[in-house]
Symmetry: C2
Subunit: 140 residues, 2 copies
């Protein structure tokens, strides 16, 4: 449908892609930035944002479509469910009961063209529970 110009695999782009793929949690732009800086100290945050967006558009990584204040990315492009900690914001994969993502993503909604489905469980992660943050005000 639309022309895609050729993707050049620059050092920066490769490092960014690796950083997202290697992350055990689903990183925000600055987490990626911090990691990439280890190898390439002069990268700019702008480059990180541009590339995360570009890589997601090409389907090499995916943008996580869930709540929270910062955007997060995921090296896994197959749809799956996430848990998000309401205190610290960390996101990781989760097994969620009672959900058939296949079916959900194929829901017919009158008038809409449906392209996918995101499921997110909210809660408090082990680290925050231990630190006693679970009882405090809900943030997002």
């Amino acid at each position: 449908m639309s022309e895609q110009s050729t993707l050049r695999m620059t050092r920066q782009r490769r490092a960014i892609l690796e950083a997202v793929r290697a992350a055990r949690v689903h990183p925000t732009a600055d987490e990626v930035y911090a990691k990439v800086r280890g190898a390439l100290p002069r990268v700019s945050l702008g480059t990180v944002y541009r590339n995360l967006e570009e890589l997601a558009r090409r389907g090499l990584i995916s943008k996580i479509e869930v709540g929270g204040t910062q955007r997060r990315y995921d090296g896994e492009t197959v749809e799956h469910c996430h848990v998000r900690c309401l205190t610290c914001g960390h996101v990781e994969d989760a097994e969620v009961d009672g959900v058939d993502l296949q079916k959900a993503g194929a829901s017919r909604i009158p008038g809409y063209v449906v392209v996918g489905c995101a499921v997110e469980v909210m809660g408090y992660c082990p680290r925050c529970v231990m630190a006693g943050h679970a009882e405090s005000a809900r943030r997002s």
Copy 2:
């Protein structure tokens, strides 16, 4: 667990609560701001943000925990599923197949304290489909 000071039902707060409850779609802070200004031209955006947050904290409305760049609120406090238009960002309620929210919100995830679950279907709304925006680049 924590002291809640008394909630004063000011004109502004009431108008904001009404605006969220009356909205057919799930409004962002500035949509609420625009609506409330009709009745109270001197309200400030800060007041709207403060109250949306406070009302959500008290459970009078709920904060929608899904993707997109702006935060959205919902007059309905019972958990249910949403559709979000990837072009214009509008969010509304949806019936989603293959999802048991009760079960999902009760998932046991090792180490986590789970408090809820959000399900969001992504797609293109009727208006945007008609306008031909459905094929264009994915935004969030």
